[in-house]
């Protein structure tokens, strides 16, 4: 992978969703790691460099909202995308405060994953510009 490849972390407990996302983003040149739970993701963040995390909300153990708050503590520059199947999801104010935006909340199923790829790229360039 080239040094400029966007590094993405995917957290979803449903393997068919997780694996297809990994494959899709890898095909498009991203460097992707994935985790099945928030706990695993946090462990991973200690060693893996990541620019953007795509997070499912309903997870076994800690949920996606908790993960985002914890991960932000660890890596303030990390960007987040919420990808959830829950139709009633509203971005909690605590997440909005740390910069998570409603533009980056997506509802499953997405008719085309391109939308997610574009969001990842947008967030990555935003982060790079700030750095």
């Amino acid at each position: 992978m080239s040094a400029s490849a966007v590094r993405v972390l995917i957290v979803d407990d449903e393997s068919s969703i997780r694996c297809s996302l990994v494959n899709y983003l890898e095909d498009r040149g991203c460097t992707v790691v994935s985790a099945e739970s928030a706990e695993e993701a946090i462990e991973m963040l200690e060693t893996e460099p990541v620019d953007v995390a795509i997070v499912d909300i309903r997870l076994p153990g800690m949920d996606g909202n908790g993960l985002i708050l914890a991960a932000h503590e660890m890596l303030p520059s990390l960007k987040f995308i919420v990808y959830t199947g829950s139709v009633a999801y509203r971005l909690p104010p605590a997440l909005a405060e740390i910069g998570a935006g409603t533009d980056y909340v997506f509802q499953k199923p997405l008719p085309d994953l391109k939308v997610l790829l574009e969001a990842v790229n947008r967030l990555a360039t935003e982060g790079a510009a700030l750095a």
Binding site: E14, S16, I17, C19, S20, L21, N23, Y24, E26, D27, R58, G85, S86, V87, A88, Q107, K108, P109, L110, P111, D112, L113
Partner: protein, 630 residues
């Protein structure tokens, strides 16, 4: 209306406080002789009406005005809340140390206590100069001048006081006694109004309850009453005192005629001996024709229940059949049929009582139905999550597989080269074997499923009830999709066969409406139309809806037209009536159109009409104001 229960008894005080209050009696400067002091309300709990906010607001203005006019820092309305007294309203004036809601214990020698105990006004010009008052709690707040009046409920029990206080001796204030009395009377007349209202409601409740009991009793007594009629009649006729017999007979017959039930008495062979007025009216059979006839001949509703009549006669036990179905003018109706045996010396016979309970049955069915709908709403959100996740798995994987079969992804070419695979050949194979198009159709089906879930959610979501601007054509199309997924219609595969013609006015502006409710209206029309078009006797060859939107001066017009059997004038006139249905109970509550009518006219300020004739379909027309609800 909430009714607050307040005990009016300022009891639970030690004898000390009683003593204090007693002595206060003697030393207060009373301007008036106390009235023949009624004892403070003893024991028991009185239901006191709640003082509503608008009255409190008015009282606030009263005390403000009072304090300002008399030029004192504090004007108060106090309320007893045993064992305390509460500042109920406090004037918004400078230097007022009393806050609304503040409470003080009774029995501590407050000015107001004396006023309440004696039910007379009290003037304390200068507390420091009066040994009786020089140690009262209000002095701590600097309030040495006091003028107060008791405030009483219409039954003379104490509400509290109205009073003014000042930090200096205030000779002017005394001039205002008359004015303050006026204020006191305003407050008391409000209290009288409140208790009247409260009493009225209580009486209404009691009346209702009495009526319920009465009805139950009437039901119980019906049988014995009819027995009594027969007993009396026989007895009296035996005694041959025609004038008494006549009077009594009239009275009793009158009573039985006034019953809101169909009451029929039969003899031991099942022939009619009595036939009350309700029976005459409901069955359109005059008493003269009915009497002496076998009951099943003149009372078809009862014929399926002859067994019960016979059983009642034979076993001398009451029999009943509830919610029995029968058709009256092709309309299904429900009845409760009860048979009471006549018990008396040497009498054989029974009373049959029939009540029409159709409306009640329909209401119950409707309630069950709407309860079901409610729970569906809640389920839908949870279900959507369960469906959306696997759906994402299916759609995403299909997309990635498609991606990996195409020739323009560098990564694909790289792997193909490593394996020595001809990518163009591979993709030609995929085309020929239609793998690509099949995967596309997996994605397409997925998208459709997702849309169905979304539609269902939008429709069931309770929060979605605000007015907003919507394109009527879009709204119609969405509803058609929704109808296609409607379980009932789907089950009989109705909707798929129906052709849909759209005639939308593209220049029509968006309309301010409650989308979900309007969708409910359209859905009702589509369901009714589909049901009508697919009726068994004469289904049209090609069932067809024509959906139109158009502009009509200051209104937007929506039309839903079908080419089903239509309806005759007699039905057409009644379709918007609640509970009017030509369908079986359980299948149709007869509420669809009446609810729709309500939504269009009441919620949206529009109109709803129908044109139809037998054999020529039906056209429902909705007009909504272009400017939205005014």
């Amino acid at each position: 209306m909430t009714v607050h229960i307040e005990s009016e008894t300022p009891s639970a005080h030690g004898s000390d406080s009683e003593g204090q209050r007693e002595s206060a009696h003697e030393h207060g400067t009373a301007i008036e002789a106390p009235p023949p002091a009624p004892e403070p309300q003893s024991g028991g709990q009185l239901a006191r009406p709640h003082v509503p906010a608008e009255v409190v607001a008015k009282w606030q203005r009263v005390v403000d005005l009072m304090a300002r006019t008399v030029r004192v820092p504090a004007g108060l309305i106090m309320r007893v809340v045993p064992p305390q007294i509460e500042v109920f309203v406090s004037s918004r004036t400078e230097g007022n140390p009393y806050d609304k809601g503040e409470r003080a214990d009774l029995g501590t020698g407050l000015y107001c206590e004396t006023v309440m105990a004696r039910r007379a006004q009290l003037l304390v010009p200068h507390a420091m100069k009066d040994p009786q008052w020089s140690h009262n709690p209000d002095i701590d707040l600097g309030m040495i001048f006091y003028l107060g009046f008791p405030v009483q409920w219409p039954d003379q029990s104490v509400f509290g006081t109205i009073c003014i206080l000042d930090s200096r001796e205030n000779p002017d204030a005394i001039e205002y006694v008359e004015l303050l009395t006026e204020f006191k009377e305003i407050i008391e007349s409000d209290l009288a109004g409140l208790s009247m209202e409260c009493d009225r409601r209580r009486v209404e409740d009691e009346l209702q309850e009495a009526q319920n009991t009465l009805e139950a009793r009437v039901a119980e007594r019906t049988a014995s009453l009819t027995n009594a009629v027969d007993d009396l009649q026989r007895e009296l006729s035996e005694r041959r005192r025609p004038e008494v017999t006549q009077d009594l007979r009239h009275l009793l017959e009158h009573m039985i005629d006034s019953m809101p039930s169909t009451l029929v008495a039969v003899d031991g062979r099942g022939c009619v001996t009595h036939w009350n007025r309700h029976a005459e009216e409901c069955l359109s059979v005059p008493t003269t024709h009915a009497e002496g006839q076998p009951i099943e001949k003149v009372f078809p509703t009862v014929s399926p229940h002859l067994v019960q009549v016979k059983d009642a006669l034979r076993e001398r036990r009451a029999q009943s059949a509830r919610r029995t179905e029968s058709y009256v003018d092709r309309e299904k109706r429900y009845h409760d049929v009860m048979v009471y045996p006549l018990v008396g010396d040497g009498i054989e016979g029974a009373v049959v009582r029939v009540d029409d309970v159709t409306e009640r049955v329909r209401l119950e069915d409707m309630m069950i139905q709407s309860e079901k709908m409610m729970s569906v709403g809640g389920l839908a959100a949870g279900m959507a999550h369960e469906i959306n996740n696997p759906l994402a798995g299916i759609m995403q994987n299909a997309q990635v597989v498609l991606d990996r079969a195409c020739t323009d992804l560098p990564m694909n070419l790289e792997v193909a080269r490593e394996l020595g695979l001809d990518m163009d050949l591979l993709s030609a194979y995929f085309e020929r074997r239609e793998i690509t198009s099949m995967l596309e159709s997996v994605r397409k089906s997925g998208r459709r499923a997702a849309k169905i879930v979304q539609n269902m959610l939008d429709f069931s979501r309770k929060s979605n009830t605000q007015f907003a601007y919507h394109d009527l054509g879009e709204l119609l199309d969405k509803t058609v999709e929704l109808a296609a997924t409607d379980y009932e219609l789907k089950q009989s595969n109705l909707f798929r066969r129906i052709e849909i013609v759209r005639d939308y006015d593209s220049t029509l502006p968006k309309i301010n409406c409650e989308r979900m409710k309007l969708q409910q209206v359209i859905l009702n029309l589509l369901k009714n139309g589909a049901q009508a078009m697919c009726e068994e006797d004469a289904p049209p060859k090609t069932p067809r809806f024509i959906l139109r939107t158009a502009r009509d001066q200051q209104t937007a017009r929506i039309e839903v037209e079908d080419n089903g059997p239509g309806m005759g004038e007699d039905i057409r006139r009644r379709v918007f009536e609640p509970f009017f249905t030509t369908r079986e109970v359980g299948k149709g509550a007869g509420l669809g159109l009446s609810v729709s009518y309500y939504i269009v006219t009441e919620n949206h300020g529009g109109t709803m009409t129908v044109t139809s004739s037998p054999g020529h379909g039906a056209r429902f027309i909705i007009r909504l104001p272009l400017e939205g609800r005014s």
